[in-house]
């Protein structure tokens, strides 16, 4: 489904974030990317939906090479990819329902959406997503009045409303407390299992990554140093990825 071939990314300021990355992710997998801050996790993730364009190599999404894609084709591509952010990135003043509805914006013409006209099926989809995430009762509350965990669920509902094949998550639980973290990770697992949506997530907490993902990618200084199942991870491998033994805040605990 996603294929990286010798992908490199060098930022305009000279920093090389990805060095000849080769990677293949299959449909339905739950992939966790781990590594130090600055190792290239975010760059790797964001290059998949071209929020960050790569500087060399080839990136295939469902056998379509994306470096030359732009404009309408790019937007059509992004439509079926949901993205979850560490800081939720909801529109604070809008209601939960309206936030979730924005997941359909890319499917409708600019003029219609400008006036806020969404067809009935879109509205139903939005409500269904809210129901799936268990927050239907919060539909008409302002987004910023919810707790962190609830806001991330709204973000997930928004992503689901896109009817995506793939969800990218950039440290989705890093801002949440331990209990809510587990709840949201359970949500991700459920979405992956019940809907067959591929999940690629940057994880700050290693034990969480090991627990929920069936495939782990370890990144160090722009290169992949580990690619395999969670059962294959040993302490030595972790020391290699992190260059040291894990710190207190990289493990959730229990």
């Amino acid at each position: 489904m996603i294929k990286f071939v010798d992908v490199s990314k060098t930022y305009p300021n000279g920093v090389q974030a990805l060095r000849k990355v080769n990677l293949e992710i299959n449909k339905g997998e739950f992939v966790a990317i781990i590594g130090l801050s600055g190792a290239g996790k975010s760059t790797l993730l964001r290059s998949i939906n071209k929020m960050i364009p790569i500087t060399s190599g080839q990136l295939f999404l469902d056998n379509t090479e994306i470096s030359s894609i732009k404009g309408r084709a790019l937007r059509r591509l992004r439509r079926s990819i949901g993205m979850i952010f560490q800081s939720f990135n909801l529109v604070k003043r809008m209601s939960v329902y309206n936030n979730v509805l924005t997941g359909r914006v890319a499917y409708r013409s600019t003029l219609r959406t400008l006036f806020g006209f969404f067809p009935r099926e879109d509205k139903m989809l939005a409500l269904e997503s809210l129901d799936t995430m268990g927050i239907l009762d919060k539909a008409f509350i302002r987004a910023d009045q919810l707790s962190g965990g609830q806001q991330q669920r709204v973000a997930l509902a928004r992503a689901l409303t896109q009817q995506p094949r793939l969800i990218l998550a950039d440290e989705p639980v890093a801002s949440l407390d331990p209990i809510t973290t587990v709840q949201v990770m359970d949500d991700f697992a459920r979405i992956n299992r019940d809907f067959g949506i591929t999940i690629v997530a940057n994880m700050h907490h290693v034990d969480l990554a090991l627990k929920y993902a069936n495939r782990i990618i370890g990144i160090k200084e722009g290169s992949i140093v580990f690619d395999g199942g969670s059962s294959q991870i040993t302490d030595d491998i972790l020391v290699n990825i992190y260059g040291r033994s894990l710190k207190h805040d990289e493990v959730l605990g229990e």
Binding site: R78, F85, S87, N89, V91, K92, V105, L114, R158, Q162
Partner: protein, 251 residues
């Protein structure tokens, strides 16, 4: 703190060096005479005459309100697209936002009075000149205030919208607009207040409104001027009150 002290001292020195500075101090007695003339009936009139005069001010007052309303709304609506095009976080290429900002600064440099004079040259004296002057003034300050607001908003939700495949217009409409709209409304009210106050002065160069009676009566009928000032003050207080109420509700 030091800068503040420095400014105060500098300013004081500057006043002393001004040849117009009267070393005997401010002539407070003169001031009192004028105040007296403003607020007591003159030329054989009495209080009831003054009161009746205030009632005749209803028409100029309505003119002023109409003028300010039109000028503020139209100027604000014009400023909206310019502000968007000047915001660095929306329009990333300098080729677009630089000329927009220069245009904005140019218009803003011209004082309202001058704008009014120019308007009078083009359309003659009267209400329309005032409206045009206010439109230009409003356009000038609203576009700057607005683009500064746009640049300070949280772009996270904008990024999120773009990641779903929305185009720039859609991302703007759903992520940026909800954040700036209440502030935009607040600014409209604020500028409306300013324009009400300007309109008194604009009358001196030919626009109409509540400034006209002030201008006409300044030499011989100080009591009328005083009455007009009171009416204007009442208007400003009411506008401020309503504006404060509405702005609080927007929170």
């Amino acid at each position: 703190m030091v800068i503040l002290v420095g400014l105060v001292v500098g300013f004081w020195q500057f006043i002393r060096l001004d040849p117009g500075y009267n070393p005997e101090g401010f002539r407070l007695d003169q001031l009192w005479i004028i105040v007296e003339k403003l607020f007591t009936p003159q030329r054989g009139r009495d209080w009831s005459d003054l009161f009746r005069y205030m009632l005749t001010l209803e028409n100029p007052l309505l003119q002023t309100l109409k003028m300010c309303f039109a000028g503020t709304i139209i100027g604000s609506l014009m400023a909206f697209p310019l502000a968007i095009l000047s915001a660095k976080n929306i329009v990333k290429t300098p080729i677009i936002y630089w000329p927009m900002r220069i245009l904005m600064n140019l218009i803003r440099t011209i004082p309202t009075m001058v704008l009014a004079v120019i308007a009078v040259i083009f359309v003659g004296t009267g209400l329309l000149a005032g409206i045009i002057a206010l439109i230009l003034f409003t356009f000038g300050i609203m576009s700057k205030m607005l683009y500064e607001v746009i640049e300070t908003i949280d772009m996270g939700s904008y990024e999120a919208l773009e990641s779903t495949g929305a185009n720039k217009v859609q991302s703007f409409r759903f992520a940026v607009l909800p954040q700036i709209f209440p502030i935009f409304l607040g600014y409209i009210l604020y500028i409306f207040e300013i324009n009400i106050r300007s309109s008194a002065i604009l009358a001196y160069v030919g626009a109409e409104g509540i400034g006209t009676p002030i201008r006409d009566n300044t030499l011989y009928n100080y009591d009328y001027v005083g009455a007009t000032i009171i009416v204007l003050l009442a208007l400003i207080l009411i506008v401020q009150g309503i504006s404060g109420l509405v702005r609080r509700k927007l929170q």
